[in-house]
């Protein structure tokens, strides 16, 4: 499962731009993930400037 650390996230939207599956969305000041669409490809994990995203097994 994709986990976004809301204390680290600075809601910049970088993770949304690299998601091929439209699985995430920047809702005003937080990122929402649609687990149905997320394939755990980790593109968002790698782009996050803050290191706020991780995959929990």
């Amino acid at each position: 499962m994709l986990v976004i650390d809301r204390y680290k996230c600075a809601y910049c939207g970088a993770c949304i731009s690299v998601c091929k599956f439209n699985a995430n969305e920047l809702v005003e000041t937080f990122v929402r993930v649609d687990e149905e669409k997320c394939t755990l490809c980790k593109m968002c994990v790698r782009v996050c400037p803050m290191g706020a995203i991780s995959v929990e097994e």
Binding site: S17, E28, P49, M50
Partner: protein, 391 residues
């Protein structure tokens, strides 16, 4: 049918506000929608713009400007300094904006020209409605809909408008600068210059910048390419700051992704035009995006007026927006994308050599073109394959 608006603009950054302002000035009925509760905050930007980029469209208001600079200093990995400065002292070449003030003022100008502006309202989707579009909006939890002939997507790096309209703007990992910036005080630097540190040593696939906002405060930031390092942008910036400005105080955090894809094939679809970061209009070498966003917003506004007059909102008609931005800054985006690819392949030692080859020169014109031409002149063998970009 009757539409609620001629144009709905999604996103009130410089590109969106400029589009709304232009539409309103052309007499169109326009709505500008911003999802945040404040326009201009949080900023996701280093705030630098050339003087020319602003002057083309505005009578410059001093309160937008945090600091003027007369040149740039580039530091190569071994510390060699390359100074680019305008010939005449006091001849300012660039501005570091106060985006919180600038963005709000631009939205205010749009509103003064007649645009309706709403904040804390998110566009959640859109669909075709006869010749126009029905746009779903959510305001403080309440869903409602408006109809429009045209939607301008100025919704930033995280753009959804393009995806809804079938324009594929997904950014690859190697095409986005992952950026962190601190507004720092209590640091020492030459406040008349913007400062750039280049090389893998500082910022893999990007650079470190220091843009003065005052005598002792500055935007100190970094962009890295996620394909070139496993560490985060924040890790790299902290490392730099610890070494160079250990006594500096961080008073603001700025985070963002800058799309550096180069020009996309098309920024239009039926009833839709994209501007600014949503259209991936940021420069692949400098990362600068404000000037292009403003130009794109202006062009989109003009084309919206033509489309409304012609009652034709098809993508074929809107392609004239593509033509306008491509003829204006599209060529530079293309050239700088190729330059970026070339420079990404150079080692730190090669960068040192390049910078050293022209370090003693006083380059009076400050532009990527001037700088690279000089580098090619001094290093023809090393850079022979990019010569053609400038002929």
């Amino acid at each position: 049918m009757d539409y609620d608006y001629d144009v709905v603009v999604i996103g009130a950054g410089p590109g969106g506000s400029m589009a709304a302002k232009t539409c309103a000035e052309e007499g169109l009925n326009v709505l500008l929608v911003e999802k945040r509760q404040e326009i201009g905050a949080p900023v996701r930007c280093a705030e630098g713009i050339s003087k020319e980029g602003l002057e083309r469209f505005f009578e410059i208001d001093r309160k937008w400007i945090a600091r003027e600079v007369s040149g740039a200093i580039i530091y190569s990995p071994d510390g060699t300094e390359l100074k680019l400065s305008s010939e005449m002292a006091g001849n300012e070449v660039g501005f570091v904006l106060e985006r919180k003030i600038f963005d709000r003022d631009l939205a205010r100008m749009a509103s003064k020209a007649g645009a309706e502006v709403i904040v804390k309202t998110t566009a959640t989707g859109m669909e075709r409605e006869k010749d126009g579009l029905r746009i779903r909006l959510k305001r403080m939890g309440e869903d409602y809909e408006v109809t429009a002939k045209i939607v301008v997507g100025a919704d930033g790096v995280e753009s959804r408008v393009g995806k809804w309209a079938g324009i594929d703007t997904t950014v690859k990992l190697g095409e986005i600068e992952s950026c962190v910036q601190y507004l720092m005080t209590n640091i020492e630097f030459d406040p008349d210059f913007c400062h750039f540190w280049i090389g893998q040593k500082y910022a893999p696939g990007g650079y470190v910048w220091l843009f003065p906002k005052g005598e002792s405060s500055a935007n100190v930031g970094i962009g890295i390419l996620p394909t070139m390092t496993k560490k985060t942008a924040k890790w790299w910036l902290d490392r730099f700051v610890q070494e160079y400005y250990p006594d500096g105080k961080i008073v603001e955090f700025v985070v963002g992704g800058v799309p550096v894809t180069g020009p996309i094939d098309t920024a239009v679809s039926d009833n839709v035009m994209l501007v600014g970061d949503a259209a991936r209009h940021a420069d692949p070498i400098t990362g600068g995006g404000i000037a292009n966003a403003i130009k794109g917003g202006y062009f989109a506004g003009k084309v919206a007026k033509e489309a409304v007059d012609a009652e034709n909102y098809s993508k074929e008609f809107l392609r004239r927006y593509d033509e306008m931005w491509k003829n204006d800054f599209g060529k530079t985006l293309h050239r700088n994308k190729l330059l970026q690819k070339k420079f990404l392949k150079l080692s730190d030692e090669t960068l040192d050599r390049l910078i050293r080859s022209i370090a003693g020169y006083n380059l009076e014109e400050i532009s990527v073109k001037r700088l690279v031409l000089e580098l090619i002149k001094k290093n023809p063998k090393l850079l022979w394959d990019i010569r053609h970009l400038f002929t």
